[in-house]
Symmetry: C2
């Protein structure tokens, strides 16, 4: 029920995912408002958390909201993964309160893959779950991100970097300095099979120099949205300019697709006890279908078991 | 002497600025290395602060470095504005230590104009002078930015926003929350003639929704570089794809120019007692010439007097 064009685009995206990718889907929300779902089963929920509502309070109060009922469906084994395009904070709160987090995870983080032209995507985390962070949390984000990079994209030994303001060691704010000190000395790489490659600057996010990029959730969120906005704006302006020119936009179609955030599916909340995914409120039918496919893949490859095994190995070391 | 292709590109850029824009220039550095400057006078300096060197220590130690001598030339009235494409931290340290800051300015901030397609650029500050900030500094950045937006771009009543992670009040990290509390209650707008428009998210930086966007220097620097990198990468890929297509890149030339950071000239260190400008190390001849032109314009419009008058008015209120 959450999202700018919900539930219509969600229901349509679910139908595409069911037909094209063969994913089994459970829609959660008001059956009357949803209308014909093309045979996809619906778990009823009478309430909706509004897009601008205060997340934690809403999740506590609106016990029959679609976001809460969806998280409960996963908790109770009715479904294997959770996906919401609604209020991001509420989706996060519902996931954490109903599904819980993996024991040993200090703070779950939102991980988002970035396109790297002609190569494997890079994963930026945290993209917004934790505005104010501690160095130890960022250390664990590095581990969670490394496992995700290997399991999702097949990167054998993910290169982990810290997002900051200069290449040289010691550049950045106090949080980054303290985090780098931890990353340089701790034997955190053993549990997750990563390698630490030091600092990365904003202009190199999409360069392919790192597979996992660690950031506090405030900076990560702003960078993610800035890039989506800036690149999106440039591409839209170019499309408009080229429209009168025969074939130009066709020539660019593969590139547009590679740069398009919608093709990458949605963000994942790493550290949750089950698969929890979060999509943009403005997601198109295509984006929702892709997100559902990614959610199903994350269940199939057992991302949560991999994360749990890593956290346990790290606790033993 | 600082910059990736220095001093060649700096000397060539200075020549372009002298010829095309009629700016009087004083080059500072090693005359032997510079070679023929086409008649532009040279103030000798025997040392160079390397790009990766520790800024403050280098400025203290290398008293005959080009960056220090250039700042002294402005302090001593030999020149009206300072410009460096070298080590950013050293350029900042030299400006602050030699030229000083305006009385009443807590921390100078790096201000960078962002393109807004079809409209006046928006100014983001701080883009890297202060990695860890206090709310009161951000409040003053709002004032400095408002004056700059009016004096440089003619915006009568600049709309000031805070860069954060959501539209709703209260979204963001602790620094943003504390800053917004100040911006909402203080009568800071009176001294600078601004209007406070609340939060802005990353995707709206280039939307034209605000004329001045306030941020801590860590986040601002990363966002600036991310956007330059991401948009630059997308444009380069598009140029390559379109090369075989007759006329396509010509059609896009005006758009490329509007999105090109090089055309905007360089960043300005707002709060300095004199005009201090900082260019990318990778600046082309064209970018250096533009930066010199902007520096001259900032002197002509008396940006420093405007800032000083605002700070004094604010102190009285």
């Amino acid at each position: 029920m959450g999202g700018d064009d919900a539930p219509a685009s969600i229901v349509a995206g679910a139908q595409v995912a069911a037909e094209e990718f063969g994913v089994q889907i459970l829609l959660v929300g008001d059956p009357e408002v949803m209308g014909d779902t093309g045979g996809i089963p619906v778990k009823p929920a009478s309430e909706v958390v509004a897009m601008g509502a205060e997340p934690a309070a809403s999740v506590r109060r609106l016990k029959d909201s679609s976001v809460v009922r969806a998280a409960e469906a996963v908790r109770d084994g009715e479904a294997s993964a959770f996906l919401s395009a609604g209020n991001t904070g509420a989706a996060m709160a519902a996931s954490l309160l109903r599904m819980g987090r993996i024991r040993g995870v200090a703070r779950p983080a939102i991980a988002v893959p970035f396109p790297v032209l002609g190569s494997t995507p890079a994963t930026l985390l945290d993209c917004g779950a934790n505005a104010d962070c501690k160095p130890e949390w960022l250390l664990q984000f590095a581990q969670l991100g490394a496992i995700y990079s290997r399991v999702r994209f097949g990167v054998v030994k993910p290169r982990v970097a810290v997002l900051t303001t200069g290449e040289e060691a010691g550049k950045g704010n106090q949080l980054v300095k303290d985090t780098c000190a931890l990353l340089e000395t701790a034997d955190w790489v053993e549990a997750c099979g990563a390698q630490y490659v030091g600092n990365i600057e904003g202009q190199d996010l999409m360069s392919g120099d790192a597979d996992v990029i660690v950031s506090d959730g405030f900076t990560g969120n702003i960078v993610l949205k800035s890039l989506e906005g800036g690149v999106g704006l440039a591409l839209a302006a170019i499309r408009d300019q080229l429209n009168p020119l025969a074939g130009a936009n066709d020539t660019l179609a593969p590139l547009y697709a590679e740069l398009d955030p919608e093709a990458r599916g949605s963000a994942i909340l790493l550290g949750c006890k089950q698969v929890a995914m979060i999509s943009h409120g403005s997601s198109s039918i295509f984006a929702i279908a892709n997100a559902i496919r990614t959610a199903a893949e994350m269940v199939e490859v057992g991302i949560v078991s991999h994360l749990r095994a890593m956290i346990e190995a790290d606790a033993r070391s």
